[in-house]
Symmetry: C2
């Protein structure tokens, strides 16, 4: 399988960590594809017209995106139900927690894009800050339950969001503001799957 990949994309990292957890990492061949909101990767558009990574190309040419779809596919290759519970409320709880962590990443990326513009819109920056405060408070309140849940797509995405904040928003001070989330994240970030796929600013 070919994966459009970048060492800085948290969504790519989700797929790589998931593949490692599932024992499938050696089946993935990565191809470096650099995308940015203001600079689409033209060579990627025939395979993913949204211009987003990760994009996975199977041996038979079938193309899969986004990261959730790719991870559910990899999970099915590994027998199913390993990173996303197969059914019942356990599944929907996992997917809702994933949506929270993943939607947070989406928002952080938009915030960073706005912040780095020549003329950022103050009201938009304020809105991102307000929602980030709400997300951090919600995560700090829920981390006990999340930590007791499965080592699945929600935990993976949340741990990656923590590292992403360190990487792109060092002034946010999330670790001091969310001590329980911080403690859990440090432990999760020490997993082999996370260390083997660290964010690299290269």
């Amino acid at each position: 399988m070919k994966l459009h990949w970048s060492p800085r994309s948290p969504f790519v990292r989700k797929v790589m960590v998931a593949a490692h957890e599932l024992g499938l990492a050696d089946r993935i061949r990565t191809v470096r594809t650099v995308v940015a909101m203001i600079k689409p990767a033209r060579e990627l558009l025939p395979e993913n017209p949204l211009g987003k990574i990760p994009t996975l190309v199977l041996e038979d040419g079938t193309i899969l995106y986004d990261s959730l779809v790719i991870i559910e596919y990899l999970d099915s290759l590994a027998g199913g139900g390993r990173l996303i519970p197969s059914s019942g409320m356990a599944r929907f709880t996992e997917l809702r927690r994933h949506a929270l962590a993943n939607g947070f990443l989406d928002m952080l990326i938009l915030w960073r894009n706005e912040r780095d513009k020549p003329q950022p819109l103050p009201a938009l920056l304020d809105a991102f800050a307000l929602k980030t405060d709400a997300v951090l408070a919600a995560l700090e309140a829920e981390i006990g339950a999340i930590a007791q849940g499965p080592t699945g797509i929600a935990q993976i995405t949340l741990a990656i969001a923590g590292d992403y904040m360190d990487f792109r928003f060092p002034d946010l001070g999330w670790r001091a503001r969310c001590p329980r989330l911080d403690a859990w994240q440090r432990e999760f970030a020490d997993r082999a799957s996370m260390r083997a796929n660290a964010i690299v600013d290269a």
Copy 2:
């Protein structure tokens, strides 16, 4: 079930159309919640700290988002496998097509937000236009296969994206550029589920 709802959100419309197709529309009580990127709905943040709609609150207080998670949940209430195939490559094809249509909606909303700013970034507007051209070309090429697929979450989301373009991007001329997509979309948009949940600029 309580649904945070707005008559202008294409993501809310996905859920409403899906509920109608599944025969569950009368189980949903809608609450109007107005959100905008520069104006988060503070009253929504305790239930969804991302400040996004749709957000579904079940009778026991369980909260679900985003629209994909809600629709898969509603699908499970209706027996499962009706709007998203339960397993196999049919499932991943449906989810990838959904990711295309849904990612397109995400992009159109960001494009509109940028376009309406006092100082839009020209490079960003150009990037949205380039990716939109790529998406429309891909959809026009794939619509034959999509039309032969199930009446599921991909078709629903794609038909809603068509109406959203008419609503917010009338100058895009997508119907003239994509005649096959146009013909398919007109027919799908005539379904009772779509007509019962039309976009209203109110």
